[in-house]
Symmetry: C2
Subunit: 439 residues, 2 copies
């Protein structure tokens, strides 16, 4: 891509949206201005800002900037080279200002994962037509520069798999359950108290936020257009302290992973809680941190981790994108021109070879475990570990919590066994099944 609007002089930017991230960007540009000018040999000047409420108390000083009541006006302003969209939200005003800025020939930088996940293909095509950059490092994993890593540093590799911890809220909840031996509800409440979870946490704990990010990573890794809708999503609501402890006893931790892998027939994308070996790098990622593992055919496995959210780390990614504009980057927005990307094709391979963790409530009567193990043997599933817990809150006088770790088998065999057990009326409620991810 050769831009008509290369920036040879100082760079003038406009910022719409002054929440946490917007404040961080302004603080970074102010605090590190000397360093930035030395690096770029250009000044970055904030020529205009816009937000809902001008009078609001803010954690940054905006006194010297021109205020725009209407962000659309800022998006069109001849004063700016770069428009920074930090309003948020999948569509509505965020989408409108982004589109307007691109059509006005501005480079656009955004932290808006929902918008890119849902409208990225359209916006990037529009940006290519207008010869502008549309950059979104801050949309995936906060301060971790995974977008540029995939788009540039690892770009010559054929990627076979990318996976990671993409949601800090879930990771905080799971690692706090593990470290403090508390249940899901208590851990969520603690996360809310600390500001790591929203009052309505369903978007995070349900896996949707991780899925937004995964859709962007898939596209960058595999050269496919962005396809959020095909992601299989499971959240962490079903994970109990029992699961965490049974996993621990067997040498595992539970992490919510977003995984995208290349199969012969297409790409498979899913977000779900997984068991990972407690010796693996990914299992050592605690609290609100994020981590991503990329497996390339020459580079091997690269793992990158850091703060996946927060004002300052996310601001670092926004400003990294400003640097790319200032350096007149010619790299395509998704690593290659969108017309050269494949349309996303969901794999039809449904057979999954894995070890599985299964927890179920079985009647406290002679032979009930024998029935289950017999059924497993009938389906050629061999067991790696089995444990019946005599205490634990899920146990009643009539039922015992039984956890099983299988050897490698298929999802199909596991489902057949569980169907059979359910039919025989031997199990109470739905068993919890968690994949053991090879890491």
């Amino acid at each position: 891509m050769n831009h008509d609007n290369n920036v040879t002089k100082d760079l003038n930017i406009g910022i719409a949206g002054l929440g946490n991230v917007g404040e961080g960007v302004i603080n970074l540009l102010q605090e590190n201005s000397e360093l930035i000018e030395k690096k770029l040999q250009k000044k970055i000047t904030i020529k205009g800002i816009s937000a809902k409420n001008k009078g609001k108390q803010r954690n940054c000083n905006i006194d010297s900037y021109t205020w725009y009541e209407n962000p659309l006006e800022l998006a069109r302003s001849k004063e700016i080279d770069v428009f920074i969209e930090l309003i948020g939200g999948e569509d509505g005003i965020a989408l409108e200002v982004t589109q307007t800025a691109i059509e006005s020939g501005k480079h656009v930088i955004t932290a808006n994962k929902a918008m890119i996940a849902n409208h990225g293909n359209f916006l990037i095509e529009l940006a290519e037509k207008n010869k502008t950059l549309l950059l979104f490092e801050a949309a995936v994993a906060g301060g971790i520069p995974i977008v540029k890593l995939l788009k540039e540093s690892l770009s010559s590799n054929s990627i076979t798999k990318i996976y990671g911890i993409l949601n800090g809220t879930c990771n905080y909840i799971l690692s706090s359950m593990e470290n403090n031996s508390i249940g899901f509800d208590a851990s969520l409440k603690e996360a809310q108290r600390l500001g790591y979870a929203e009052a309505d946490p369903s978007f995070d704990v349900g896996g949707f936020d991780a899925a937004h990010k995964l859709s962007i990573l898939s596209s960058l890794a595999f050269g496919t257009t962005i396809d959020f809708s095909s992601i299989h999503i499971e959240g962490i609501e079903k994970i109990s302290l029992d699961d965490i402890q049974a996993a621990k006893e067997n040498g595992y931790k539970i992490r919510l992973l977003g995984i995208s892998e290349k199969k012969l027939s297409g790409i498979r994308q899913y977000v779900e809680p997984c068991l990972v070996s407690d010796k693996s790098l990914i299992s050592s990622i605690d609290g609100v941190n994020n981590a991503i593992v990329v497996d390339g055919n020459f580079v091997g496995e690269i793992t990158i981790s850091g703060l996946g959210a927060g004002s300052n780390p996310t601001a670092s990614s926004v400003v990294a994108d400003i640097f790319d504009v200032a350096n007149n980057s010619t790299v395509s927005n998704l690593g290659m021109p969108i017309h050269r990307m494949k349309d996303f094709k969901i794999t039809e391979e449904v057979i999954d070879n894995n070890q599985y963790y299964i927890r179920m409530l079985l009647p406290n009567i002679a032979g009930s475990i024998a029935n289950v193990t017999k059924s497993m043997a009938d389906h050629n599933i061999s067991l790696s570990a089995i444990n019946q817990r005599s205490d634990g809150k899920n146990n009643t006088n009539d039922y015992a919590s039984v956890t099983i770790v299988t050897d490698v088998t298929t999802n199909i065999s596991v489902n057949k066994v569980l169907d059979q057990i359910a039919k025989n009326g031997q199990v109470k409620g739905l068993p919890t099944i968690i994949k053991i991810q090879q890491t």
Copy 2:
């Protein structure tokens, strides 16, 4: 930087040196050629190759390439835009061809850490004068794209500290001692058998290779010119199985770290074995892997890990640099023009606040530990743990191996205590002192 020699058409390259890395580069360019052309919208064409021995059996197919007996001729050739130096060696022919290529207006890509550590400032100044790129992603940590991460993604951050595991040989030896309970010599021998250590391992185990890489990282992180000579270097030869096991009992692992940190009066660079918490991310880096932790004032801590050596991972980094040339990167070779960099200033701060691990041989007589602990108390050093091992090969009838973990104190106090103990003739040989690195 605006180049006079922007590449708008296909990119023609010459490769000098066809060892492991050269073979990997040729294999990558061949195997992933379709992907590469799709990403770059340019072809990368190998227009010439040169190595010592044309007839040598190689792990790549070079039949279709023009052979240059003299790499200097390739460096000057009008056929190429980019010269790739993979000959190796601090100076000699590698330095000569690099200089010639730059003076002939070629972009140069190198994997040669020794050359960049020792002659980087000169070569980069020369490249800037000739408006060419001099890129060296492959010179630091194999496949890990840490150079670009510092130069671009984290460039707006003021870095306070960068440290990491920069030598796969040492990390292999230390983690194998730990995992297999074998001594240094046995572990080294195993590493040599597996090809992870040279016949003469002193360059790796002595810490010099890690120091070469650290000097480059320091420069990128802190905006100082490269200064290899000021690095304080200690190797891992002094580490015994006793140390590894005593560390383990206290919740630590031993890793050879390269560390560069900003102090008020300058930058401090050192390579030395350190104790790191066995709960830390860096402690989970096993075998020949490398890992680097960067601490920036906005991004916080970013950790990146992967294969730190080997044909294919290093080739991935060389080709990443080719991508930067093909994309007409305008980023300065060290992240900012060399005339804007500070000359390296070694800090004069010699007081170090740390916990320390100390192992010493004390006489097997009543009161000898009491004397040591009394001396520590006199110097206000409080102890976190103390252990006398009754077995272990370092014990004789007359002496016992005693390991101590101190609370936070200064290097000065520790040295005073050890001087005093030595003066009193209470200790056999030199105590081993290892810093506990906060991770």
